[in-house]
């Protein structure tokens, strides 16, 4: 078998995620009477197994920006958390060339601290030394563009300002693998331009990015490749413009209530895609150095 001469950054190999969650759905009530009584006593609702991801495989290379499309609950955020290593898949594995950095909407910053203190804390959490954090500070502030608000506690920020600050902190570490979970949706036009520039620079420096976005338009503008997820499965993994277009057509049919046309568009897209499975070959690159060995 011939190996492509490309710099592999992320390998997701047949990843499954399932978790149990409480449900008030009466059709999934426990069958046994004892279980029902036990649930009643402790005040718990019966649980159902939710299949968040069902067999996702992909390879991402340096310089790629992968847009992840899908409805709410299609598994986009779960996929990003699994790639980042923050959540463990129930089956399958994720390999990466460096430690991925996930930028989420609910990244932990302390609301009682000022923007300035949060920048420092966030940089330290990503493993910077105090000197590095101090050196990164001006850049973070410039990218976030908060003005005098950096000296105010973060709880006084609007959601857009908070998102900008989080993005700027995550970018400060110059991660080769950056995962963004809808964090850019809230920025204004000026910030959008600055953030796109920053991300392009990182891609140019042999990085790869995954973006969860709601709009197919953003995928066309910012991504080189797109993945359409539906109910935890991959519908189509292909070039950004084509996948985004198909997704947009499907979503429009759904919005208009044309279920038949939507199903038809979906089936077409699904048939265009392919079931990817990976064949992992280890250790051909001799210069490989374990990440933790340094």
């Amino acid at each position: 078998m011939e190996l492509p001469e490309q710099d592999v950054q992320v390998v997701v190999d047949d990843v499954h995620v399932r978790y149990s969650a409480p449900s008030s759905d009466r059709s999934v009530r426990p069958v046994s009477r004892v279980q029902r009584v036990a649930h009643r006593i402790v005040g718990r609702e019966p649980t159902v197994v939710v299949r968040a991801l069902a067999g996702i495989s992909l390879v991402a290379h340096a310089g790629e920006a992968v847009g992840v499309l899908g409805l709410n609950g299609s598994g986009k955020s779960t996929l990003l958390r699994v790639i980042s290593g923050l959540e463990r898949p129930s089956r399958g594995q994720v390999l990466a060339a460096s430690i991925p950095v996930l930028l989420g909407v609910n990244a932990a910053l302390l609301p009682d601290l000022t923007g300035q203190q949060n920048v420092r804390l966030g940089c330290l959490a990503m493993g910077m030394t105090p000197d590095e954090a101090a050196a990164a500070y001006p850049e973070v502030i410039e990218l976030a563009g908060l003005g005098a608000a950096v000296h105010r506690p973060m709880r006084t920020y609007s959601s857009g300002m908070g998102a900008r600050l989080r993005f700027a902190i995550a970018v400060a570490a110059r991660p080769s693998i950056l995962l963004i979970d809808e964090a850019l949706a809230t920025g204004d036009a000026a910030f959008k331009e600055r953030s796109e520039q920053a991300m392009e620079q990182m891609r140019a420096a042999a990085g790869c990015q995954f973006l969860v976005v709601q709009s197919a338009k953003t995928v066309e503008q910012m991504c080189t490749r797109a993945m359409w997820l539906h109910q935890g499965r991959l519908v189509w993994d292909g070039p950004a413009p084509e996948v985004a277009l198909a997704y947009r057509i499907w979503a429009t049919h759904i919005a208009k209530g044309n279920q038949d046309k939507a199903q038809k568009a979906f089936d077409d897209a699904f048939a265009t895609g392919a079931d990817t499975s990976l064949h992992l070959i280890a250790g051909l690159r001799s210069e490989a150095v374990a990440r933790h060995a340094k």
Binding site: M1, E2, V8, V11, Y19, V28, V48, V49, V50, R51, A54, L71, S84, G85, L86, E87, R88, Q93, L95, A96, P100, V101, L102, G104, N106, A107, A108, L110, D112, L113, R120, L121, L124, A125, M126, G127, T129, H230, Q231, Q259, Q263, F266, D267, F270, A271, A274, D275, T276, L278, H279, I281, G283, L284, R285, E287, A288, V289, A290, R291, H292
Partner: protein
């Protein structure tokens, strides 16, 4: 919500026993990947590597502990003043009840001093373990946003508790000097930091043990506060075991309790101008070392489990 589905099956919520049938038209693609130089994300490093990574995050641990202490006190009008005021008010409760109302010394020399030392030092242990055991649960947002050795969270919580305890400790020392008959300064006061340091090591070990357990079974927080209560009565906080019983077996067992030794040794140094016995040091050092070692290994072995929902 759409009703669009994959051909061949309808519902994803309840996992079907077998995998759904796929549309036959769909192509299969086998992609060869050279995964040399790639590493699994979220794999657990070896213990010494883990400790090394934790050491690299020491600045984060310190900044996080300080930031949370400050943000906690910012919620109150008097702010950091409460760090000193609260323990003083706590002590005044005991002084009023035992010193003015009951007027009982229960056969203990300088009983009010005895009580203040016992209450202040024990509350440090129980408070730190209560807060520390919840550190993974309450830091869930952090765990799911950043990748760092998870041990940073309980360690930062213990650090925070130590920071908060410093004004309390100062208040305690002032109180035992002021309350009659009053403790007198001696060189043995210099041994107190050593005793408190061993106490902190003991606490850290127990926090590491309990925080992994609580991360798995949140209900254990209830059990932990109950055990803390038991431990308090077994440590001679408000009374002296020697006055209660002559049973040597009971006393021997009590003397194996590390918190009993922390209180006893601190009182010896501060109040009674006695140098703690060698046996007391041995008991405390062994317990602290055991707790820390067991806590480290136990917490480290659960490293991959803290992010799962």
């Amino acid at each position: 919500m759409s009703t669009t589905t994959f051909a061949g099956h309808t519902d994803q919520t309840n996992v079907p026993a077998q995998r759904p049938e796929r549309t036959p038209l769909r192509a299969k693609k086998l992609v060869p990947v050279d995964c040399g130089g790639l590493e699994p994300v979220a794999n657990r490093p070896s213990l010494d590597e883990y400790l090394h990574m934790t050491w690299q995050r020491r600045h984060f641990i310190w900044a996080d502990a300080r930031a949370r202490t400050l943000s906690e006190s910012r919620r109150f009008l008097l702010g950091t003043v409460w760090l000193v005021l609260r323990p003083v008010l706590d002590a005044s409760v005991y002084l009023v009840v035992f010193g003015l109302l009951l007027k009982s010394n229960r056969g203990v020399e300088n009983f009010l001093g005895y009580l203040v030392v016992g209450v202040f030092l024990f509350r440090f242990t129980s408070g730190a373990i209560n807060a520390g055991s919840r550190s993974i649960v309450s830091g869930k947002a952090m765990v799911r946003s950043f990748s760092f050795p998870r041990i940073a969270l309980p360690v930062a919580e213990v650090t925070r508790q130590v920071l908060r305890f410093m004004p309390t400790l100062a208040a305690m020392l002032v109180l035992i000097v002021l309350i009659p008959p009053g403790a007198r300064l001696s060189w043995r006061w210099l041994l107190l930091p050593v005793v408190v340091a061993l106490q902190v090591v003991l606490i850290a070990g127990l926090v590491l043990l309990t925080s992994r357990m609580v991360a798995k079974v949140p209900d254990l927080t209830q059990v932990i506060s109950l055990l803390n209560r038991f431990w308090m009565y077994g440590s001679g906080v408000m009374y002296s075991f020697e006055r209660f019983t002559d049973n040597q077996t009971v006393l021997a067992v009590v003397r194996l309790n590390p918190m009993y030794q922390v209180l006893d040794m601190s009182r010896d140094c501060l109040l009674y101008a006695r140098t703690p016995a060698l046996w007391s040091w041995v008991v405390l050092v062994v317990w602290a070392a055991l707790a820390l070692a067991a806590g480290l290994v136990y917490f480290w072995r659960g490293e991959e489990s803290y992010g799962t929902s």
